[in-house]
Amino acid sequence: MREYLLYVKIGREPIQAYVTPCFRVDQNFWQEQEGSQLYVIGRTPSLAMAFSLRERLHQYLQERQARHDDVNEQAVARMRQIALTGVRESNALYGDTFSDDQGKSSSEWFEWREGIAEQEDGSSLLSTRGEVELVKEVLAGRALLWEEMERLLQTHGIAVPDLPQLLQRLVLSGDAQWLPGVRLQVRKSWLRHSLELECMRCGSGKEKIELTTCHTCGQGCAYCTECLGMGRSKCCTPFLCVPAKRAPSSHTGHTGRLAWSGRYSRDQEVAADRARQFVLNHWGRNVEFLIWAVCGAGKTELLFPSVVAALEQGERVLIATPRKDVVLELAPRIQRVFPEARVIAVHGSSKEKWEECDIAIATTHQVMRFYQRFFLVVLDEVDAFPYHQNPVLYRAVARAVKTGGRLLYLSATPPRYLQKRLVAKKKSLLGRSSYALYSSSHVLLPGRYHGHALPVPQICTVSGLDKLLAAGRVITPLHDMLKASLDAGRQVFVFVPRIEEVPRMLGYLQVMLPDYREGMAGVHASDPAREEKVMAFREKAVKLMVTTTILERGVTIPGSDVAVVGAQAPVFDEASLVQIAGRVGRSPDDPKGTVLFVQSYRAAAPQAAVRQITQMNQLAKLLRDRREMA
């Protein structure tokens, strides 16, 4: 069981409290540095407790400083008192919060002892300078729990005899920072005091954190259930953040070589250049930028100039995307385009996730393990499932950016809060507001790369839709549309709101369109044959695919039409319907197609989606006209 010692350094400014697992190292360090005096406050096996007390002491020191009081022996005695009170309060509150009756009385949750531990090993720092540098380099730019860090060092074949001592040394010299996995704090209020908990890794609050008696620290402990899949973040697990200090210097210059033979359309070129300007920081101190490009505008290609700009400065780039399949698809593509850069795919089961790189393509959850590592971070599909309304992931992504770095959002349907923050609106003479095509924080690409307009969905309201479906009655608009598409040899996506409705819808359609019985299939997220079915659809073996929202993005099938049955359902929001409509007409050979939204009553989302699509078409037209005029 490790113990953490809390002490105050008095001497040269600033007067601060420190937490250390090995006091000897700190003693030596401060002696070398400035010869300050250190006063031990006490020690506890709970890391979170030590940090919470440290917070209190800082508060006290600040107050004292404001009064211009000297910090003397008396103050130290007072601080010891404060610490003791803190422990007592936490004990009581923890006992109240922890409902499990394990028979422990409330005073025993956190141990607290004053003075130095007797049997501290004499050796201060065993590792050589080379080892220290090596550890520093391996850990640079990462935010890891203790276990993860041990594993990482192991995979790199680094065995250090005194890891805590070494890390403490790094912390003191300002090269690293350590925190408890879960932070613990007593919040005081006039009504009642409460125990505040926060996961330092994912930022989740109390509702996601479970209290437990822990056998690792033997103290009252808590762990975060939100990021449990990536290892347990606990009160007693050190969470280590090491910022990447410098650019990887060994290989600058060539990594940014772009081997891409494709060509931009005029609009694409302008948009891509604006993004590049942002990365090069020609527009003031913006750190966030949104590329809003409609479905099928060629978003990935738009990134290339920005990535080149970052690489040429010798910096690292991260492309974060919500799903693993996208990571796997994108990584080889990026590698082909940047042949001299080291590209790695980082996802849960990837083997190269700990390797050094120039460009990392990662799933969003893996981004949580990075700390100020990348100069340019690109977030693909910000509106998609894991990011949307999820402060945890936004926080993780923001943490992966270096100080002074850039954050680039990429979306076809940016959520409202991003639009508000980054997209400027302008008002026309008639008072109708529309989106500005660009600003210092965004660029809008309203047209597709082939220059054709987006297909505008048709909405039809069929009252009693569910009953008609259940009774197997013909729904004329749907039937006509499907028949026309299939007769013309096109493929059709039929979207339904819920998994249970996939087989039901499939059965209904098989009865309704008996000629195409064989060419129909249904797929949903938990379907074991999901990949094969989607493959068959791509290869045109399946003509009609009934699906849930899982195929709403990423799947491109030339010559396809879309029907959404039950478009009023809450799973289909504006963004999702725009994405679904965006499946149609993506290839230049076949830019037109039909999109049909069937709703059982009038709902807001389909209408809003149609409005958004028409607006984009108008903007695209405006842009085209303007260009022709020029």
Partner: protein, 265 residues
């Protein structure tokens, strides 16, 4: 169902009436020694949705008298001969401190991930779920009041500190609260053994488990022979549980009556 939804698939509100039917059918099948109403309540409490509940691989009625292995399970038929009450493995072992074992579920894909999530990932919230499963198992196989106390199989101190919690201790706590039988922390693990998955072969396993446990000094032996129920997550070869039973018997003058109950068999 709990607020968290189904522990296996995470679905929150599944079709209520559909689940009702599944719960009833399980309650009918499992209510042997206890009443239907009681079993119904136990099954209904499980935080599982209709689909997952239906697929729950509960071991059938035909089992080996000693180790609780299912006779109907595929691939194990060859180990059993018709007419025999015990399976071949159990006959090979012969007399033992451990009277017998019962397991509730077959160890297959259904539960593997759940147990992994609980043990290795450390999602302690699942203790509640496994506790409920064991409660159900107790009422299925035993009579209430058949045991004096429960003993969870301990972890080695080093493993315990790595993991932060003893998975069976948590489950035993839940179970004890449900059935009102006290838990006694009576055993310690004296030998550090490799992980189950890293040991190959029955012989190796049995050998490595020898004298791996010891009776804790401070837990005083009761005067009269007590009836003990050992709890573990899974019975594979049974060597862990037999070693525990032996450790209990070793220091006793009056031999206890020991059964074991596992979640998976």
């Amino acid at each position: 169902m709990s607020q968290r939804g189904c522990v296996r698939c995470g679905i929150r509100a599944a079709a209520r009436n559909q689940r009702e039917a599944v719960v009833r059918s399980w309650a009918v099948r499992l209510s042997g020694r206890t009443s239907y109403a009681h079993m119904y309540r136990l099954v209904d409490q499980l935080p599982l949705c209709a689909g997952c509940l239906e697929e729950m691989p509960v071991i059938g009625e035909r089992i080996c008298e000693q180790c609780g292995r299912s006779w109907d399970h595929k691939g194990q038929q060859n180990l059993l001969e018709s007419g025999a009450l015990r399976c071949r493995d159990c006959r090979a072992i012969g007399g033992n401190a451990l009277v017998g074992n019962r397991g509730l579920l077959l160890y297959n894909e259904w539960g593997k991930d759940l147990l992994g999530l609980y043990k290795y990932r450390g999602d302690e919230r699942l203790a509640d779920f496994f506790g409920k499963l064991l409660t159900l198992a107790i009422y299925r196989y035993f009579r209430s009041g058949q045991f004096d106390y429960l003993v969870a199989v301990p972890l080695h101190a080093k493993r315990l500190s790595e993991r932060g919690f003893n998975q069976m201790e948590r489950v035993a706590g839940q179970l004890s609260r449900a059935i009102g039988v006290p838990v006694q922390d009576a055993l310690t693990r004296t030998k550090e053994t490799a992980k189950l998955s890293q040991q190959t072969g029955r012989e190796v396993r049995i050998h490595s488990m020898q004298d791996a446990f010891a009776w804790k000094g401070e837990a005083a032996h009761p005067k009269k022979p007590s009836r003990i129920l050992l709890l573990d997550d899974i019975y594979t070869t049974g060597s862990t549980l037999r070693a525990c039973a032996q450790a209990i018997h070793k220091d006793e003058t009056v031999k206890s009556y020991i059964w074991s109950l596992t979640i998976f068999r």
